[in-house]
Each structure stands twice: as C-alpha cells, then as structure tokens.
Amino acid sequence: MKVLSFILQKEFRQIFRDKTILAMMFAVPTFQLIILPLAANFEVKNVNVAFVDYDRSTYSQELLNKIASSGYFRIVGNTISYTDALEMIEKNEADIILEIPNGFERNLVREGSQKVNMAVDAINGTKSAIGGGYLMAVLADFNSSLDVNIKSPKSSTIATAPRIDVTYSVWYNPLEEYKYYMVPGILVLLLTLIGGFITALNIVREKEIGTIEQINVSPIKKWQFILGKLIPFWIVGIIVFTIGLTVMYVVYGIFPKGSIPVLYLFAGIYLIALLGFGLLISTFSNSQLQAMFVAFFFMMVFMLMSGFFTSVDSMPAWARQISNLTPVTHFITVVRLIVLKGSGFAQVKMEFLYLVIFALLLNGAAIFNYRKTS
C-alpha cells in the first residue's frame, strides 16, 4: 500500500507536468463538444430537388408549391428536360429529381392514379436517402389533400369506407431537436478517445525511454504497477467526463433527466474497461506509433459499431453480435437512456453487468500479459 502511494505520487506529478495531457483534459472536450454537434447534423433540410415537369398543369404546379413550402426542400430547377436535371445531379447541384410525366393531371382525374418518377442521388448518402423519404411523405400528403377537393363518380363509396386516423405523439425530445441525440453520444466518444489512448501511449512511452526496465528490476509488484497507472488516468477520465457534462449543460442546456450518480457509476466502470484495454494494447506494442495505430483501429471499429453514427437495430444479426461485444455500445445506450429518458439503475442493470464483465476481462488480460521478466 505504501509503495502504491509513492507510485501514485510520481504518476500525478508527471501528469500535471505533461502539457499534452492537460491540453487533452481541458481543451479537447470543450472543443469537441462545441464543434462536433454543430457540424454533425443529420437534420434534413435544404434537400435540392430538380423538378422536371412535362405536364405543366395546375396540379403539377400545386405539387411544386407544396414541395417548395414544406421547409425541407429547395427547388433548384424547374425544367422540361430530364437530361438537364441529370446534369444537375452530376454537378452536385441537385440531390433528387422528381419527374412529372405528360398527362399527369388528366390521368389523375380520369384513371384515379398516376405514376411519377423520383430519382435519388444514392451517392449523396444520408441526405438523399432521408430526403427521399420525406419527399414521399409530402407526396402522400398531397395525395390525400386531393381527395378532399375533388369529387368523382367513385366518391360515393368513400363515405362508407372505413378510415383509420393516426395520431402520434413524441416522447423524450418532443421538439425533435437533433442535439439531444448527438451530444450525449459525443460525450461518450470523448471519453472513449481519451480512455483508450492515454494508458497505451503512456506505458509504451516508458518502454521506449527505458524507465520500464527500472521498474521491472525493482521489487514493485505487478498489481502495484497496474493500479499505479489505472488510478491516475481514471481520475483524469472522470474529470473529463465532468467537464463534458458541464459543457453539455452550459452550452446546450441538456441536463440529465435521470440520476447523475448512476451516470457516474457507469462512466466509472466504462473508464476502467477502456483503460484496461489501453493497458492490454501497451503490452503488445513496442513503439508509440504502433500503440497509437492499434488503439486507433479498435476505437474506430468500436465507435462505428456502437450505434453512434448508425443505429444498431438496422445491422444484420452477425454485426449486432459484434456490436454487443464492444463496451462502447452499452455505454452509449446507457448514456442516452439516462440523459434523455431518465432511466433508473434497475432498467439498465443488464448493461451494467456487461460493462463489469468487460472491465474484468480486459484488465485481467492485461495483468496476465504484463511480464516483469521476459
């Protein structure tokens, strides 16, 4: 125990003299939390629609107006040539083409149905995909507004046709502001970056300088050495988490709905798991570059699979398994649940169990792998 206190004293002294770590502790969280949500915006707005109207009728004009006034779209072209519209897609000026065929209005009134062509720029990714969905919703809306306005011979059956009205309400984030979704995720990203890299780099640096040898030749026990590394960086991680929570509140006004102590409990366990992971990486790496690359590789895979960018639900079964095997996934889920929905410990106890298992496994592997004698 006494030896541990000497080790901790040395580690803390070194941390506070290391400008890079200090910068990372304070500057990086603030920076990330402010910049990222501003940039990382999946909101759908300003989807550029090239309108190709071969009909030029009242209906097509009404449709155009409806789309233009919906607030999501920008009409960037109103032509009578599909080729022109395609050119706009090629030049990245348009995201979607909506083509109204000749006879649109006439067919609609006479036959009661009419096809329109929607071409979505699949390479523009998320924006076009979601934009396409919204455009279809606008079309459906336009559809139903037509019914009410126009009488037709077949309308007599309408009155007796059963109609199911759908109302909906949105719980948690009723204003559907994107920041509520992104910011907690970014907090997790932050903690992951710092926790994952810091121990790995620190220990490998000692290997490179040679001070590790001095430790190995001394009577320091393995557990003392490892705790001596874990504890200071754990504290750094918690400080970063606190700064993150503060920025989240001060800048975005997001205050966790659920219990803050439970949030810290999870952050604490998550950090232990991550730091253990960094430790494990350091036992395999001989140079700082290697450690950084390996850590980067795993962090990237973890973040991608965690549900931060894309949802875990939409993954195929094998990918979901992998996702469940990463600690990041569980922590992100919990943070979102606690911050946005006010979930209590009882509701997330499974995730807690997972995180504990990860912490044990990773640290256990690291301890097993670390050898004082080679």
């Binding site: 000497f6 040395k10 004698t373």
Partner: protein, 247 residues
C-alpha cells in the same frame, strides 16, 4: 555457498539458434568490484539482465545474493540496485522527486528518505539542483545521480551497465570514486564497460567474447599472462579472435 554475492554455472541464453550467452561460469565475492568486460555484442548486457531477473535464462544455474534466478526473482530484485545504459531517471521529475520515488519503491519510510536524500544530495554537490528537473542536468551529474539512486536503499549488490558513457575522463574518475565508496560500505559492484582503463579499477575482471568468458582474473594477473603492460593489449588479443562485433 551463500557467502558469494553472485554465482553462475553454465549460464546460457539462447534466441532461436543464436547463443547470446554461452555457458558462462564465474562467481563474485561480497564487497568485490567485479568488471564485466567485452566488446559490443559479446553478450554482456544479456548476461547481466539474467542476473537482475529481467530475463529468464535458457539453461544453466545462477544465484544472486543467495537467491535463485529462476524461482526467486522478486527476492533478488529487493536486494539489488540497477543502473541501465539509458540510466532511467524520470526527466520530468526533480532530483528529489526521483529519489523519493525510488526510495519509496524499495520500502524506505518517508522520514528515512528525507534524511538520506538530503545527505546524498549534499554529498554529491547537488544541493542547489535538488529542485531542478533531472532533464535539465548535465550528463555527468545525471550519471552520478543515477548511481546514487541505484544504491539509495543500500542493496547488497549493484549492477551497472556501461555507466560512464559519453563523459570526460575527469568525470569518469569522480564516478569511480563513488563506486569505491560504495564498495567500502560493503556493496558488491558488478559493472560492465568497454573502457579498458576502468578495468584497472576493478578487483577482478572477466572478458566476454562471442558469448563465452575467455578470461577471468585480476587485472595484474591477466597482464602478466598475456605478457603486456596494458589492459588494452589483453583485450585486443582476446577480441581479435571474436566473430561477433557490433551491436
């Protein structure tokens, strides 16, 4: 024989087919200053690492301070001091902070550390530099400091790996004064070097060539045996036969 500080018999370290250390046998008495010489690549550092408990021997026996290098490494470590070529002091800690850390690691109490540390710093003439970061000290002072830290906990044996590289002869002599004092206090000194003049300072030396011990005796006896008045010549005659050279 537990009076001997270090005993090794047929100690070997093999990497694949390559025998870095090939069946070396020797012993070192308590309080001796033992010089472990050899060219670069001869296997000195590898041998020393085995004796310090930093690497497992492939075969052979050895005991350090009476403890077995295979089974009792942690006991060995508690009883030795070590100064590596890179002399492993933390550059971003001050002189005193380094002393404090290593003192604590070897089990000294804070009071002892304070007292001994102050004495040591005064004796080294580093009293004014005690609060300075080690990284700011000149090389010669770092070396002396590293040595003092290595024997701070009064170990039975201290292992020094090429401790005087890169400094002028005067500083080297001052360093060896420290070694003499330590030996006078009863600490066994096991030092590797490739400076042949330092060989003269030792009680006995051994010379390693290609992983084997090719000479083991006092400097005076060796000079007589090889019929020369300088250790350089002794070394030259032995090393000429070497196959391995270079790090």
């Amino acid at each position: 024989m537990s009076e001997k500080a270090i005993i090794c018999k047929d100690l070997t370290k093999q990497f694949g087919d390559f025998k870095a250390v090939n069946k070396i046998s020797f012993d070192v008495g308590q309080g001796e200053i033992f010089g472990f010489l050899g060219a670069n690549g001869a296997g000195k550092t590898t041998a020393m690492r085995m004796l310090c408990g930093l690497s497992f021997p492939t075969s052979g026996e050895a005991s350090v301070a009476g403890f077995n290098v295979y089974k009792q490494q942690e006991k060995i470590k508690a009883n030795i001091g070590y100064m590596s070529q890179k002399f492993s002091l933390y550059e971003n800690l001050t002189t005193f902070e380094n002393i404090e850390f290593y003192g604590g690691v070897y089990g000294l109490s804070r009071k002892e550390i304070k007292k001994r540390g102050e004495d040591m710093v005064t004796m080294l003439g580093l009293a004014n530099e005690a609060k300075k970061l080690v990284g700011e000290l000149p090389l010669g002072w770092k070396q002396k400091l590293a040595f003092s830290v290595a024997i701070f906990h009064r170990p039975k044996i201290v292992f020094l790996d090429e401790p005087t590289g890169g400094v002028d002869p005067v500083t080297r002599r001052q360093f060896w004064d420290l070694i003499y004092e330590a030996a006078a206090d009863g600490i066994t000194v096991f030092v590797t070097t490739h400076y042949m003049d330092e060989a003269e300072y030792c009680n006995r030396i051994s010379i390693m060539v290609d992983g084997k011990v090719e000479a083991l005796d006092t400097p005076a006896s060796l000079k007589k045996e090889f019929n020369t008045s300088s250790m350089d010549e002794v070394f030259y005659q032995l090393a000429r036969r070497a196959q391995r050279s270079g790090d």
